[in-house]
Symmetry: C2
Subunit: 772 residues, 2 copies
Amino acid sequence: MSQAPYLNKQFSPGVQSLLPLYYVGWSDSVLSPTEVKLIRKKINELSFLDKADKELLYQWSDPQSPPSPELFKHWVSLIRETSKVSKIKKKKCLAELGIEMAKKSAGQEDQMKWTAPETFQALKEVEEALGLSGIDNYRNLISLEQAQEVDSSIEAADQFDINGMTDLLNDDFADTINKTKTLLKDPFFSHPNLRDKDAYRLKILDMCKAMAKQGMGAIAFPEANGGKDDMGAYIAVFESIGYHDLSLAIKFGVQFGLFGGSVYWLGTSYHHEKYLTDIGTLELPGCFAMTETGHGSNVRGLQTTATYDAKTDQIIVHTPSLEDGKEYIGNALHGHMASVFAQLIVNGENHGVHAILVPLKNKAGQLLPGIKVEDCGYKLGLNGVDNGRIWFDQVKVSRKNLLNRFGDINEQGEYSSPIENPSRRFFTMLGTLVGGRVSVPRAGLSATKTSLAIAIRYALKRRQFAPKDGEPETVLLDYPTHQRRLMPLLAKTYALHFGLLHLTNRYIHRTEEDIREIETMAAGLKSYATWFTTASIQECREACGGKGYLAENRFADLKADSDIFTTFEGDNTVLMQLVAKGLLSDFKKEFHDEGFRAVIRFITSQVGDTVSKNNPFQTRRNDAEHLLDPEFQLETFTFRERELLYSVSSRMRNYLGRRIDPYDAFLRCQVHMVNLAEAYVERVVLEQFHLKIKEAAPALQSTLKRLCDLYALHTIEQHKGWYLEQGYMQGAKTKAIRRMVDKLCKDLRYQSSDLVKAFAIPEECVAAPIVV
Amino acid sequence: MSQAPYLNKQFSPGVQSLLPLYYVGWSDSVLSPTEVKLIRKKINELSFLDKADKELLYQWSDPQSPPSPELFKHWVSLIRETSKVSKIKKKKCLAELGIEMAKKSAGQEDQMKWTAPETFQALKEVEEALGLSGIDNYRNLISLEQAQEVDSSIEAADQFDINGMTDLLNDDFADTINKTKTLLKDPFFSHPNLRDKDAYRLKILDMCKAMAKQGMGAIAFPEANGGKDDMGAYIAVFESIGYHDLSLAIKFGVQFGLFGGSVYWLGTSYHHEKYLTDIGTLELPGCFAMTETGHGSNVRGLQTTATYDAKTDQIIVHTPSLEDGKEYIGNALHGHMASVFAQLIVNGENHGVHAILVPLKNKAGQLLPGIKVEDCGYKLGLNGVDNGRIWFDQVKVSRKNLLNRFGDINEQGEYSSPIENPSRRFFTMLGTLVGGRVSVPRAGLSATKTSLAIAIRYALKRRQFAPKDGEPETVLLDYPTHQRRLMPLLAKTYALHFGLLHLTNRYIHRTEEDIREIETMAAGLKSYATWFTTASIQECREACGGKGYLAENRFADLKADSDIFTTFEGDNTVLMQLVAKGLLSDFKKEFHDEGFRAVIRFITSQVGDTVSKNNPFQTRRNDAEHLLDPEFQLETFTFRERELLYSVSSRMRNYLGRRIDPYDAFLRCQVHMVNLAEAYVERVVLEQFHLKIKEAAPALQSTLKRLCDLYALHTIEQHKGWYLEQGYMQGAKTKAIRRMVDKLCKDLRYQSSDLVKAFAIPEECVAAPIVV
């Protein structure tokens, strides 16, 4: 071998100065053709190398003839020799080490050359050009073969206060959450596992009544109506039921959140006094009859009519055709009354969608005249909820049954509303119901947490394949592919939990001014989190193999029951467009004095700011300190959001300027808008995670930081195509991010057991035989 | 406005030469900061522009002050004027048009300047630098506002021969497929919709018997045993059942493919004569008892023992512990016999895993002594299949019950095998069972086709949201987001169908030599296609909103029943690593004379070849002709596969060179290997699609080409991060790919109805009320 002769001789100082770079360059995997070109170009430019040095270094950068293991070992020993005696600085770089090696081997007469700043600078440039300027490269170099020990040190060092973490997750609602969990542990609530929908529905109804008896149904209602006026507690109860049975959660939500909520938020004292107490105790089971077969996402287009009849002083509720029947209505079979959303027509004028209370059954439980109810039958999941279809044939109710907070008919038969603009009125009425969008993703995330608890506990227990015959088989979670499957999900679950807590707090302390912003955030987080729920439970099911397919191990129900979350309370794709529209119009409004031009100028300057950071150093920078810097992470997320906002608004404006029909212009930007909405949600979640780390107890911070880093970098990794396309990052950096994600997944593996313990899911709720 | 004065004056020839570029640059959306910098630098370099020209062009490239609609319109009219009179060449570029505009407005004395090749060259460089050299840019420019007409022309022009397409999909098995479909249309086979597993299982058993009566069960068996020796037909039947009920498909597969297959492939004439006929008629229902609770993917690690007892000349089958019981075994409750996979021990020596026929029940249906069977209970899906657990307590069977094709015990109690090497013997035995991996993804793809048929037909019928009040609402499939959801799935379904046909044909015409390659391909396609099945059905369910959640609309069963396909017949993640190992060792073997070094050299030269095409022009090239060029597509796929193969093998070698434990080295490359396997499958599928287009009837080719283009470009788009990271593409190109994917989605929307018709799924099988 041509390399052999070098093994016994001392290398020149020039060659030595480059050894650390060569070592790291080759050790990761391979010198790519681009890297070869680059390194040779740089070598050629280095004035402190002589011809022989350059030839040798050229030879060592030939991908067709990689360094032999012997040569490689020789490099290592030379590097070790120097690094052992030199002071190990935390932030040392490879160029520094190279200089030290050169100095050590150079004669007295050459010492000047090796202390000259230009020499260091030239070497540093090679290091940066190769994307090797991360401090990790230095660290890895001197601790390469100690990798195993490093891992076990993580295991030992990074225990955290599990109860403290649970407290953090519980936020202000530990009491309510604990009370709900205690209740759900009661054998009365044990998983019914009923295949027959009618029996299952009755059992769920009983469970709901039992919760109501504990005062949990009325918890968000006024004290006068048996409640505690505590919307936050209501959401906490709902989230906790999510650990148990989603049919129960949805049945609970339909009765108290939707039906009760409509009476509370859209009605006035007359309705509150007359109905709320009975709703809270489930004496009066009811429905929220909004969606029609023909109109789901498009609520404004509902066809059911509520026509005021002056002669009888009544409202006539009517379904014009079969297609216009109410559909998917929860409680349809058990309910005695419904809040029916219909076009309110007074004196021939349509005032838009309003809600009217319509009795469905008499005390004896018989359907009233004009009411037709049909069972939706079996569904993919949630078979404990009695969804049905309802049609109204000229059903007459008292004028007082109009939920009249935002639109009323007086005794003279005249319509009036505190909100003049019909469009604003419509959105205000819908806006009061945003609580559903705040609650649903939290119960969905509970299902994700249960799935992760099962999949991670199983992965720490189950072994398969041994390194060698006779050795113990490997634990699943020691496989990097398995870590890659589950750890990013765990990190994102924590991230979304804090994001949803933030949304909840904004929602329960909302003011008139920020309701629009909260609606945007709720629409975005609901969509993003429920899509994540679907994807994460699927991954957990697959990660448990055949055991995950057995109904007893819970994934079947968790998957099936949560699947509809991406559709109800607003179809996710539609909601994401709503988010983008909200963002666009907020910007427009913010600058409405100056006009749209100013908006563009503002956004441009913002983007410009960030882009100015696009210098070659920044876009290639790949050291751990940089990648784990919260400021870098947030800037990167914000850049994406801003850039998408800027480009979508410019495109829109451009189309409109070219007299393209606004609807058509919107269609052309539709996919772009969904991306914008996603970037917005991801930024909000990261921001909240960073804040949460700051306010957390010091003992929790390092663990939270690791979770947050994984959420941030994994998200950036998923968008790396976009960042590279924008020139915001170079390949060296996205590759470093990939490696850092790998590392974080590996590190978190050792904490994952405690991290799912911190969810504090009662064993009675987990209830999967594979992890018992 | 400062721009207004220019509206009434003629622009200079220099400015005019750049108008087409400016128009296209602004019309897509926006000039990004990078583009602004670039365009200004280029403008500055153009010698044919004077100072005033440059100032004006600078002003027009200010993102804070985009051209006014009036100015924009003025540009358009000037461009139109020229393009109307000039000959419309198919491949004209923007620079050419610019030159024409300049010539038209320039005086006689300047004509020379505008015909000079240098001028064109300089302008062309600006065009390329901006990534605008695609012919689409020119085409779009002159037909921008005719977009709608273009669309309807596609609708009219691109009808294709639906029956011809069905024939192509049926390959050589139209008769079998049609016969099976006819059978499944019989009311006897109508969806049972039974919630109770025991009733459902009996119904499925009856259906299976009815199919056996038609000769379909024995179709792959020799004629002597009632069959037709036609494995291809067997797979076609299996695929067709996939359109109907997957419980039936799996029950059918367990009885005839797995149990029957093990007797046929692992047994010899004694077993064939004695059992095959009864297996083919379902007189003898049986199990394929391989997987154990403790060992699924790791078949070599099975714990069940089959010990030869010389004294009685019997084999004693035994389950050492509870954990070692056979699990998930299909037919466990209905079966009377099982092929039991166990460690064969003869004279104290373990010869590895072999299959032994063990009777489970007597004629009266009572369990035999020593046999314990337990129901696996309800599963996430496939509840029509009786999966169970089986334990053996010292069960004695005749020595002849050993399926002895690859390992036998003679009358003297001596073990012998035609394959000396135990490892090779093991893989040969498993290899004969690869038929399952060929069949399963085809039935899975049938479920995808049914889902797509429902989702696309619904999306062409269902309307929601109107552009304006009073106008008809928009059809779902006219939304770009909806096209983006469904059209790539449709394209990939066709791609995978042809890929799986290829695999099937390789499999049924296999020779000794290519069995390893076929196993690799089967493992890869099985994993890739079944993951796609899970993802695609999920997308279709969500695309149908609440209607998709009702059990009557089929997604519930399609999703739940196919979910386990990613796990059984080999866990996908494990199989993908098998694929990568196969690819690595094939390369190693191919060059074994020269040693591993030669392999590296070979791969490097291959990669080098492709990388040499990485010139700036190629990496930015973004015209339609290039993107739709099959050679470009295949080269791009191949580059990814080769590069990953090269880098994973180099990394491995590097780790081993540094004396890292091979198992640890493998773990470090695990994620990398899964990516390699994916790249391999994608390349194989694309290659087969290209071949299929060539051999198809000319009337089908343009439609197939469009599907193939969408599959190819959508796949590249999903990996764009990787291609950008490698420097194989520039942002301008990946953006152009995104736009082309959008366009292809839109174009296919008009053919999608016919494309799902071509699947020829019987209406009785689709059976979803939303599309009736």
